[in-house]
Symmetry: C2
Subunit: 343 residues, 2 copies
DNA sequence: TCGTAGGATGTGACCGGTCACATGACCGCG
DNA sequence: CGCGGTCATGTGACCGGTCACATCCTACGA
């Protein structure tokens, strides 16, 4: 794998043809005779020629590159989404370049480096409403949002059907006979927190239960906020029978707090989360959760982005992905009323 | 943020100067009079000009881009390493582009797309010995390995001091009075598994204990393999007093198996891992582990890569990063012999 | 008064591909 | 037999920057 800069013209000279003919061979044009093609291919192999992607991008005016930007790379939910997007992009002949921007400032800088400088043809934005970062997005560029509904501007987007997911979780708890169901939300600035709240309320309403504001706590997605929620409820003497945490991390925090408070799990407290993080089955008790298929969301998002780029007519779509219940050990029948079903 | 393709020459025309002068302003050359600079800057702002990164790369012959390739993006250890590398690269004026290659074939394709086509100036390879992927690396290109020792070819590398980390873990267990210490390794093709085995044996030797082959099991980094290890030991009636799992996931698997076997943790079994994954404190009992600073490893690796690129004389360095013990609840004094210290 | 140094600016080629178009050979058909 | 059509190939410009070098102007010392 020689590294010297062998160019198209070097190959042309070596093969005794014009640079254009080499270009045609490179691009599998059918306007080349088999003999010439063979000769050129031989020259390419001999010289170890590899086309220069930068020059090609320059000449073609397109980079065949997609970008993906998320608040960080370490969060499992983002990472697995990116993983899916990367595969799909590759499958469609694009290269996916992923970066992270912890704050708005970095976000703006990256947008400038990627979009304004024309390094990329489209962009996948994960969690655009994590802060005010969405305000830095140029309007006339192909974007797809992942994990959020598009707002005013209206980019395409792909997300979990958060309302349905929350309904599923809540219904599961209701089905077990629980009536006092606590809710721990994510940051309310994010769509998914809003939507999961809506789903929770819908399920409650369907069971004829009025949501109790004392049973709702706002968390920040981290385990510690779930932990804190239960500790606080408990201190106030108003601990729920069951808790729906809007993500697994917070659910795990609840589990820990319950253990430290000496509760018998799941007998005295049922806990359900959302996501199905990799080690969910290894907590005590194994976590019941509503699974979302991040890889599928990523694939969908990448596919949507590609079609947005390639199709002249701008579509405005919001794709919702289904959630599935994964029952493990952290939820159980409500005590004392074995068959008290809701609704 | 206008998206039209305003070029350098458009700006030049608008400002009534030559294209070169605009280029000089762009690059903060001091060879421009303040008045001219002001005029050009005004034109830039008016037209919404943004330099085209592709064209610049082309003309300069360098892309100011680094690439990072890992087996996947979802593994926390990789992701946090990349996160650190990304920050450092940015700080040094490079853009870090990260990709993942699950298998050798994809790896080779990506190398081709990134390296041979001159899109990137250097590359960070995470876990180069995950399979035979390292064989696809061109020798004459700036590489830095992360999480592995360089072999024959000898690229630069940065990794945890695995030997010391394993010694630390083993010494911790020895210090608690344990003598029968089980070891669960990662895949033996990887350096870190080898090195962690060496550290374990060193600590044992220093305590005058001969390693017992029956107490060593090979795992695959996944929790299930840790789970399986304890189940098997137990079935054979040779369960150890304490287990050193070469990573946290496997340690968590051991924890779960122990619980299912009805063991009282940590009284009947001490477990220690390596990594300090995010939710380590939320398992039951909270996991004692040897922490490695992935972000720091990533930063170091990026820094080393940049200096390799920028310095003409090729250095061959292998940087080792320190590990620290994080004591939580999964390890405890050996039963019956409260002060039986080793060595 | 002139030569010259050095700052400010302009000129044209070049990076390595692709594009649009030109050319020449060969073919079939009226 | 001449002409249009198709195929294989070549020519030169072009993408949007940067580089090396040329040029012009001014100030300063001899």
């Amino acid at each position: 794998m020689p590294r010297s800069s062998v160019t198209l013209r070097d190959v042309a000279r070596h093969a005794g043809v014009s640079h254009q003919t080499v270009s045609r061979v490179n691009n599998n044009s059918d306007r080349v005779s088999p003999e010439t093609r063979a000769r050129v291919e031989e020259a390419i192999a001999e010289l170890g020629y590899r086309p220069n992607a930068i020059a090609r991008s320059m000449a073609r005016g397109r980079s065949a590159t997609l970008a993906c930007i998320s608040p960080n790379l370490t969060d499992y939910t983002f990472a697995s989404l990116i993983d899916g997007a990367e595969r799909e992009a590759r499958r469609r002949g694009y290269f996916l370049l992923s970066t992270s921007a912890p704050d708005e400032e970095t976000f703006a800088a990256i947008i400038d480096q990627l979009v304004s400088s024309r390094r990329t043809e489209g962009m996948l934005v994960i969690n655009p409403y994590a802060d005010r970062r969405h305000e830095f997005l140029p309007l006339t560029f192909p974007f797809v949002f992942a994990g959020a509904r598009p707002r005013a501007e209206g980019a395409n987007s792909v997300a979990l059907d958060d309302v349905a997911a929350a309904r599923l979780a809540t219904q599961h708890l209701l089905g077990l006979g629980h009536r006092r169901i606590g809710l721990i939300t994510g940051p309310m600035a994010e769509d998914c927190s809003q939507d999961r709240l809506a789903g929770y309320e819908q399920a409650l309403a369907a069971a004829g239960i009025a949501p109790d504001p004392d049973l709702m706590v706002h968390g920040d997605w981290h385990a510690s906020s779930g932990y804190q929620a239960l500790v606080t409820w408990s201190a106030q003497g108003r601990a729920p029978q069951a808790v729906f945490a809007q993500n697994d991390q917070m659910a795990v925090g609840v589990l820990r707090a319950a253990r430290e408070l000496g509760l018998d799990l799941p007998a005295q407290l049922s806990v359900i989360g959302v996501d199905d993080i990799p080690l969910a089955a290894y907590f005590t008790p194994p976590l019941t959760t509503v699974r979302q298929d991040f890889a599928a969301i990523g694939r969908q998002a990448a596919a949507l982005l590609v079609s947005t780029i390639e199709q002249p007519t701008p579509t405005r779509r919001h794709v919702l992905m289904p959630a599935t219940l994964v029952e493990r050990g952290s939820t159980a029948q409500a005590r004392g009323r074995p068959e008290a079903a809701a609704a």
